[in-house]
């Protein structure tokens, strides 16, 4: 998977958690809580979804690493590459 694939996967799970978000309007630097309005339950559901889909466990302390699509694609790529 390329970083573009990770971005697509992230956006897909993001919009599954928050179906009213149009993925076409999400910017690379949009903050999932401050800009897109996810609350702590949404973020947890997103982390669960990414865990199920990619098999990676994002610890609470690293939730900041998926705060924007740009951060998340880089973070997910590195986690998967590290065999997490």
């Amino acid at each position: 998977m390329t970083q573009t694939d990770f971005r697509a996967a992230f956006l897909e799970e993001l919009t599954r958690v928050a179906p009213d978000i149009d993925p076409a309007t999400v910017g690379d630097d949009d903050h999932i809580q401050d800009d897109l309005g996810l609350d702590s339950m949404d973020v947890l559901n997103l982390v669960v979804a990414l865990h199920d889909r990619l098999g990676i466990d994002i610890p609470e302390a690293q939730y900041v690493e998926i705060a924007t699509p740009r951060l998340a694609s880089a973070y997910l790529a590195s986690k998967v590459a590290a065999g997490a």
Binding site: R16, V17, A18, P19, D20, D22, Q33, G37, D39, S40, M41, L44, N45, V47, V48, H51, D57, I58, P59, E60, A61
Partner: protein
């Protein structure tokens, strides 16, 4: 048509989950209606066999209107069958769908502990999706949902609907959000007009709870992690059990304390709006079950699949601002309840611990209560108990 709130006047039938001949049991979901607060699943509180459906899909029915005739075991069909009278409560005594029972009645409906149950029958869809489907004349049953648990969301309708995707249009009057704001306006205005609110607030050291939660979650896969909000709901449920004057309903004949504690959990809907479905009999749950219950409520609130009993069964409300933001909220009581526990976002503040000033995470709780029922002393006792519980998170 049951009343799902004091300000509800009508509801629109959008789905029948039963048919003539169906056997129904107390607590079964029998229909879905659209209200100002979105689509709500209607439960039945009678046993029997469905004799006849009185209401048709799309009917906008006033509260109290008969929706179906249910016959008890061995009961003869009403003699007016041929005439198909629409008078409520036919003399022969077939049971109309009952509104939710009073809060004090025993009801063993504890939400499932770990998983979100699949909705019973019918197509689960968000309120916005339902409305759009109706506008476009799309049959929900023909659509495969892409939302959580297969729930049909707006984009599914847009994709399938005649003419395909359309440009977003300005919200017409009567859009789901406009209706939701109307419902909130009516309830909050009534609350402020009729309930003499009294407010007590207190700032609580939250460091132990936050540290405990971080350590707990570090060991757990995401699925089993617990949010701070679950601690607040759990502490509210336990404290309310011992505070009879804050837990119940204020009706026309005065205050009725509730034996059961069903905290209404305020859930902000994305795009605006607010609902506070009840977590039934919360004191009987573990913390893990409380978290699962809240997650289930939030998921269904957003998908438009709350139950009627959850809309009316709340006995006290918990409203938390979340992880970041302002430090205090003085909330408005959700009638006919008599108390609301408002929690600001936790803040790091200088705090005196054992005579030394140290940085600690603190949270300010503000309890709004009905002064016709409770005085400062009872509210203060509740808050003290709430604080004590949060100092021993491992015991929650």
């Amino acid at each position: 048509m049951p009343s799902l709130g004091a300000d509800m006047e009508t509801g629109t039938l959008v789905e029948w989950l039963i048919a003539p001949g169906s056997r129904v049991h107390r607590g079964d979901t029998v229909a879905v209606i659209e209200t100002q607060k979105g689509a709500i699943e209607i439960e039945i509180f009678e046993e029997g066999i469905v004799h006849r459906l009185e209401a048709a899909l799309g009917d906008d029915l006033p509260v109290g209107a008969p929706m179906a005739i249910i016959l008890a075991e061995g009961e003869a069909a009403p003699s007016d069958d041929a005439a198909r009278t629409h008078e409520p409560q036919a003399a022969s005594g077939p049971a109309p769908l009952a509104a939710a029972p009073p809060v004090a009645s025993p009801r063993p409906s504890v939400p499932p502990a770990t998983t979100v149950p699949p909705s019973q029958g019918g197509a689960a869809a968000s309120p916005a999706a339902r409305l759009r489907a109706r506008e476009l004349g799309v049959d929900l049953a023909s659509i495969e949902g892409s939302g959580p648990n297969g729930v049909i969301v707006l984009s599914d309708i847009e994709r399938t609907g005649p003419g395909g995707r359309r440009e977003p249009q300005p919200s017409p009057a009567g859009s789901p959000m406009t209706e939701m704001r109307k419902a909130i306006a009516a309830a909050m205005t009534r609350s402020k007009e009729t309930i003499p609110h009294v407010y007590l607030s207190h700032t609580i050291d939250l460091q132990r709870a936050i540290d405990w939660l971080a350590a707990h979650n570090r060991e757990k896969p995401p699925q089993e992690r617990i949010l701070l909000g679950a601690l607040f709901v759990r502490a509210t449920a336990l404290a309310a059990r011992d505070s009879k004057d804050l837990n119940g309903h204020y009706l026309a004949d005065g205050f009725h304390a509730s034996d059961m504690v069903n905290p209404g959990v305020a859930v902000a809907l994305r795009g605006g709006g607010l609902v506070a479905p009840a977590l039934m009999d919360a004191p009987a749950m573990t913390l893990t079950e409380t978290m699962a219950g809240i997650r289930d409520l939030v998921t269904r609130a957003r998908a438009g699949r709350l139950k009627g009993s959850e809309m009316t069964g709340g006995t006290i409300t918990v409203s938390a601002l979340g992880e970041s933001g302002c430090d205090m909220m003085t909330g408005i009581i959700f009638p006919p309840q008599v108390a609301l526990v408002g929690l600001g976002a936790p803040q790091t503040r200088p705090w005196v611990v054992d005579g030394t000033v140290v940085p600690r995470s603190v949270v300010t709780v503000c309890v709004s209560a009905d002064h016709r029922v409770a005085d400062g002393r009872q509210i203060s006792r509740f808050i003290t108990e709430f604080e004590t519980l949060l100092q021993r998170p491992e015991a929650l």
